[in-house]
Symmetry: D3
Subunit: 338 residues, 6 copies
């Protein structure tokens, strides 16, 4: 049954040099609008849910373009405020083989979303309309105001009986020196509020400062994740192990931990077209599986296949339907579909 | 020595989303005109033969564009009638890695070619000018009228001493339920008329309903193809075994059966850029080899290399010259040619 | 105050040769999705209303792309059914100066919208949610079924107290020989149901067969339109006189007739970038003016300015906000806006 | 009745900066293949004649591309030799308003056509197959060899009873200092062989060195052209007067002189998209009119309209059918054609 | 004789929607780098001078791309510092006819140039290498720091015997409420330092608050400009009167005031392709004329023609050589240049 | 410490069919300007040196575009003469997998560079400003004049105490029959003048005619290179062994020989995007390492990594900074850089 799902997050303008030129070689950019919240709500809307984005966009041609783009993705935009001046931007130069992709940010801290002040969102109304709300750790890095809005919203969801999803994502360059120390209390607050958490053993060690004497990633995972679940009282923790291979393929293995049990997906190895946003596809797969009552194995296999397909899609935002993901789970690579 | 070769078949407009976007993401299409008959006659024209297409196009800007495109390919268009209203279209979204390509048809059954009625083509004149005529099984799926025209044409070729090539291609979605049962008598009629037939053991089993207790494809082939050749009195049967690998390469092994003997090509493994139409390149290689008196081994190796190169060419239609194919047969992948 | 506005109409795929090449010269098309109903509801959504489209799209990648495109335009898509096989298409080659633009249709009669059968739309539910519904004369040319659905819907609107808008558009090529005679009864039926009608004196003469001894267009208008309003009991009739000048500009003068009174806009002369769909912008301006209680002069000036701006916009669908139209009404051409 | 028409001339590769950037601003070029002979034979093929080009192209990928392009235009390529090394090129930067277009040539003198030596074309065979052959004055500027081939061909046409068309075009930069003096004897030789000549009073004065005391162009024309016709025994002389207006329009008035009589077309004023090659459209209109037995007025009006439409077409080569030209002669600028 | 010319100013990234789509319709942008200082130094470099830009760019891929672009324009970049984080951006949507162009700024106040602090530029070294330095009024609107740097630089130029050019440009949106009152003292300080000033009577009235009882622009000009020259002790004041016509043309008349004398250019009327930056072309023409010792008439005609041609060039930055401008001064619109 | 580096070489216009179409399929080309000297000086300018190109370009729009492009690359253009008529061109059709890339040259022998005559360059001035000059064997193939200029320049460098770098590159198609015999004395003259030479054992055998009884490439190298170094008194010889793998990757192993010692890089295997010009990146790495006093191992590893990265860059010319190359030496393929 379709659920009402919301995400709280910034809409960014993605400006990409087409093909494999550098910004200093080209004269053309393609643009789209994305962000973790955008990706997750759009993906869930493709699965048949109603996906609300809770965000702020300026009342200017860039804000208009962003709004049109979100509508195109099937996102319900009634909780998007129009205020402020800027949309955060990032420029993407595609890497090729031995040359990694590069992202250059512009104007993020001055964006409408990050400048929105306390009291601007009517969270009490929103939480009554939604079953699940997704939050992303990246937003915690912005400023005190955003952090405050985020926690206020999460508490309201909780009090209203909704489900809080927290993606424990962390970007070092945004926190600066001693970042982990500054960040930890904010992540802990969100973890205490969360029902479904996206993280793996690396996050546990770096963000939460947990220690282990194991060297193997799997063993570290099996030791630390149950501890985190217990400490913060989290129902579901899920995440992935990713391997970047030298031949332009990645390998991905998903896990889900629930009721004291780990379940793992097969390791999928696949060619990568556009890596950005694929983690959000995995998240949306987990949320969909949990909401629809899939078994743990179905859930993690579905999420991994959703993640895999998102690497083959142009742009940040996943575009695959439930049917396409189910087919990708069961079949080998097919010939042209007619 | 150059021959006069004809093909009877529909011209379709191929509308392709450039790059790897979905139709719902992009706003641009590239277009070209193709079809099995187009591909085979264009390929044979590249080898130095005169390639006539026998078809119908509407008298409107789309028909004009199709005609110009066929001329560009080197096809002789004097047997193309102008009549009817539409050109059949197909939209192609390129797959990437784990995500398969998708073809969506539009307006095929209402096309000028498929609406052409009895008596519209002057087959008696045509058969006097041509040495070989190519027919494709896909056309049998259209409607009674097309089927009737096809058989009438094939009989006229036969009576005039020409060679009938029949590609035993079958597309399930076009025949609907109980398709094989409906289709079988029509395929059998064409097989009785044909001198050169493109098929493999799978076609023999599914279309002709033949049975075998063998499990191995090679063994099935060796059992069924001689039986088909004998039953329908066919001089040459040729075809391929294709394997779709997970790393964006395909493997192809060609065979030819003639005078009770099988000859196989090496198995070629190669990167794939555009898979559609590559089978027609293989057909044209077989027809060229037979017409030019190549040995069976030369013929099948030439056809397999022609097929391989067609996978590296943009669009449906093969573009390689005899010289380029011969070089691809003998050499490893080369550096830049200057 | 925002109204709920609906339109009943086909969604077509517009395939345009970019720039000024012919279809036989280019290899690229840009595509978008439009139609009279699409244009009118999108324009009204831009003015702040809720714009519902009542239509049918196939459940395939073309239907998906159409739906995404309508969402992007801000159209509310909850009354769009997914059924049938095709989306009607038209190919557009841009004219330049002395060379007129050319439109070639494909697959229109077989489209999902035109194949939808009786009982497929839940008109009773729809009419309860909407204040105004727009119908277009072009749809009357399709087939009996569409005509029947259209009249059924219009009657339901009427019975429910809603406003029926009827655009008396007529396309000769769609009706064939004796078209006006075949068409007249259907147009009359719609006129009897309509509250707001888009037409001018030429429509009155050709479609309704009215006669006048006047030679001047203005005088013909002033004689015939009041007669039509009275005969069919229509509250508002509006339309335009258009002049195509030789220097790539058009001149447009709008009129509105209501309460036995004519009011005319200024004659606007302006450069034309994309003429298709500009009439729908005029319609949406009239509907908006009437719904918002603008004076007759404000209404017709607003509609004329909306029409003018639509000629400067890429694609069929108007994109201007109320604010932009109001500014265009009052100002001369401005310098760059910063 | 369709005629067999030939032209003797170079095929050039046109490399155009798209839009209005300079070569030092852009990074992209569009390319096509043209030349006076290409334009005239393609235009006549569009009118239903068989258009042969007599030329030479290198056996390399550029020559292959040129050949495909000519086929696409509907030119019959059986008299095109494959030899030599280069295709002449020109780079075109589009002007805008006050900034004129710029053409930069590359590699013209070393082209396959200009390096072709005596005896390479089988003129005796060719002249038996064709009714009319077109020659252009530009070719006279190349080198002695080309001049010799040209005169040899023209004589062979004459002796075989064919019609010689000579376009008295002259490009100063190609002849260098004292160009007119060097060029005159060659032009005179061709004029003696010609039946239909394209020129106006300026050519008569500059190339042939004729003098007049009149100042008005029309009067100069009426004095000099009859003298030229008589001196060189020419049946038909035709040409145009062109005015370049400041608003991106040109004005064109055509004339034809035959049997001691001048007939003039209306002065056409029209927006210009691509001026290059439009003169060849005028020529093809004259040749078509004469061959089809149009009246002098029909001929010159047809040629002028053909010239006008060619200014609206992308690229050098005219693309309009006889039907489109006839409509442009009789109608005012029309609305979208559906 | 070539001079060493410098400009102090921000480099901005211009992001333009290609063609005439809105940002909410397109998915592609073209980009370049410009700014008043960029335009003036590039234009003067095209005339043969050495053009230094004094500015700051971040050490990231956007800064690298900007630097490459300036080098391409022929600007000498040795006085460009690498520091800070952002490049100011503006998004441009092209208007068409009745629909004006729109510019949306992003991230300007946070740019490297506007965040550069006191002492960061080595003005003492710079002023020894340059003959003329150009400053723009827009920079005065940024912040105290930029204002301070600007005045410090101008004073150093003056003390070192160099020429100060000040463009009295004013952008209302950047100064906010009571802008003119806030801005006036800063403009006055610059005027006291300047030798050559770009302004007209409107600037005198709005920025300097001068009053006149004349109504005609010319008379206002003739009254106010001599007063300004005298008050602030300015050698040369130059500027333009611009008229935006309804047919996509502008009319431009330049003036120069020097030694108590006004000289005016002819009024030029021309089609406009890209209006942005054309004022900088006029400035560079005045500076070039003054530096090269042109007569006042030559100077103002040269500047006006430079301005006119800049309207026909893609992008902000003028691209015309001295030779091209001289030709545009003397000739009518020409045919294709070969 | 930055050095002044020069290269003597032709600037060519690279015209590339975008994507994987053939020239006969496409209608678009992208262009850039390159050449061995361009690539080497641009690469060294990216490393912080001053890179002068010594060459000749015509005074026309193609020459202007080339000059702008070189400026964009950061090349110092003060030693580039403007003279002659043409820029050499090459057309590139990208291969895919089994289909090799094709290069077709146009107008090379007639280029400004290759037509420049004795005495045109002021070598005496140049050699006083530069520390190192790079020459390429390809230039030796052009004509006597170029050969003479090259040797004169190299001698002047030597006499002035500068370092001569000679890339022993050889292109068979340019020398024609008995090419190695004709070429050998010229290569030997350059080798006698050179301090740093790029070559491997194949060059030693084919160009210098050396013999060895070894079969293994490594052993041949170890036998022949020391002999060459001794014979021609060369300080440093460096080169690579390249393997073209069937999966669209290449393997590259660099060597450097100096002071009787060989040092080898690791074998790097990597995906290839654009192979042309990658050898010049390797050369620039060797020159940089030697000039900066890197150890032999650092030098050869740096050069190999520079070569590897150049295969991932669009166009002929390397674009990587020293920092990026150092990172590529030490790290595995990374995720997106943010």
């Amino acid at each position: 049954m379709p659920k009402n799902v919301a995400a709280f997050g910034e809409v960014m303008m993605r400006l990409q040099v087409p093909g494999y030129e550098l910004l200093s070689q080209s004269g053309t950019l393609t643009y789209s609008f994305s962000g973790t919240g955008v990706n997750v709500t759009a993906a869930l809307a493709k699965f048949g849910h109603i996906g609300f984005l809770v965000s702020t966009l300026p009342e200017n041609p860039i804000g208009d373009a962003a709004l049109s783009y979100l509508q195109k993705l099937g996102i319900t935009t009634s909780f998007i405020r129009r205020d402020g001046q800027y949309v955060g931007m990032y420029l993407l130069e595609n890497g090729f083989g031995a040359r990694p992709s590069r992202v250059t940010y512009s104007n993020r801290l001055e964006s409408s979303f990050n400048k929105a002040t306390d009291g601007t969102y009517d969270f009490n109304t929103i939480v009554k309309k939604v079953d699940v709300v997704h939050f992303c750790g990246i937003s915690l890095a912005m400023n005190n105001n955003v952090r405050h809005l985020m926690k206020t919203f999460a508490k309201a969801v909780k009090e209203n009986g909704g489900i809080v999803v927290f993606d424990c994502n962390y970007r070092p360059s945004l926190w600066g020196e001693d970042g982990y120390i500054k960040a930890k209390p904010h992540y802990e607050e969100m973890l205490h509020l969360a029902d479904i958490v996206m993280m793996n053993e690396k996050d546990a060690m770096s963000i939460l400062g947990l220690k282990t004497e194991k060297n193997d990633r799997s063993e570290q995972l099996k030791e630390l994740i149950p501890y985190v679940a217990k400490t913060y009282n989290i129902s579901v923790i899920a995440g992935t192990h990713r391997l970047i291979n030298s031949d332009n393929t990645h390998s991905l293995k998903g896990f889900i931990f629930k009721n004291q049990t780990f379940v793992f997906s097969k390791t999928l190895t696949f060619s990568v077209f556009d890596r950005i946003g694929a983690g959000d596809a995995y998240t949306s797969g987990i949320v969909h599986g949990v909401m629809e009552g899939f078994s743990m194995l179905e859930t993690v296999e579905f999420a991994a296949a959703a993640g895999m397909l998102a690497h083959t899609i142009v742009g940040d935002t996943p575009m695959s339907s439930e049917k396409e993901i189910l087919r990708a789970m069961s079949e080998s690579v097919g010939d042209v579909e007619r």
